[in-house]
Symmetry: C2
Amino acid sequence: MVHSSDPKALSSGSLAKVTGVSPDTIRHYERIGVLPGASRTESGYRRYPSSAVERVLVVQRALRIGFTLAELAEILKARDAGGAPCRRVYHLAQEKLKGITADIESLKRTERYLKKVLADWEQRTQIAGPGQKSHLLYSLSEAAMKSGAPANQLRRNRRT
Amino acid sequence: MVHSSDPKALSSGSLAKVTGVSPDTIRHYERIGVLPGASRTESGYRRYPSSAVERVLVVQRALRIGFTLAELAEILKARDAGGAPCRRVYHLAQEKLKGITADIESLKRTERYLKKVLADWEQRTQIAGPGQKSHLLYSLSEAAMKSGAPANQLRRNRRT
DNA sequence: ATGAACCCTTGAATGCATTCCAGAGTCAAG
DNA sequence: CTTGACTCTGGAATGCATTCAAGGGTTCAT
């Protein structure tokens, strides 16, 4: 054993920089279990194998798709343990797609509605001069809001 | 003053039921300032005027559009104080619309990408029999992900 | 007057990825 | 040998609407 440390090893900070996330995030990923525990230098510094770069990038991409860190941890741990969680991954991805499609529909409804409301308000504001009480908010009606979900917290906890 | 209490007065629970939210939410709205402090019975029970029903409904509708409770509190307090915050409301609503439209675009990108990925995976899974490592997650590429935001937390803190 | 069904308050938990904090050790260059 | 740049840890904060919890009153019908 001439060199016990991989020459391509990365510190948490370098890994962070290379992958475009913060060092805190890297450590967080390890806590969660989405990154396997890194080996350490004598002084306790993390040393990541170069393969960790791809891993972090994969996680980032999966997050965009809507995967959850918990799900990724489960999947990646299974993979690391020699399993082939492809079925699970595929199934989850399908669910994510469904969710995204539903969100798009929901947002579109809200968008249409909001456009109407704004157009209506424009009229009203012109009629009643500036500084007049025109009760904009109170003119919001239930119409066309059927299932327009809160524009904020869409697609949060989707238990699968 | 024969009857000091409005016959149409509602308890927090009734208001909640009528408007379809939980009593906790009603109290929360009051804390936040989105509902004006209700008058109380001798024993300390809240008595809401019937106008509170519309108020809660307005808040619910505004929330769907993407307004924030804090924004609504500001606006509604101004209104209660005799002001006409229409300009602010209109401006905020415009911002919300922009945000929603942007979110839709972002989600569409992610949707397109995810569809491709799933189609690709389908192929791959058929080739490699079940139980085979096909590295689905690792096949996620950066392509077409340009600004596909995290499918989850879209449109959170949009400072306006 | 006993219990079911309300209501009150303050404060903390939820979800979820990320960031920030404090207190403390490490490393390389000047 | 000091300084600036990193790194370590565990826990708390962020945002935001909603819900829950604990400890206690109130009301009305049995």
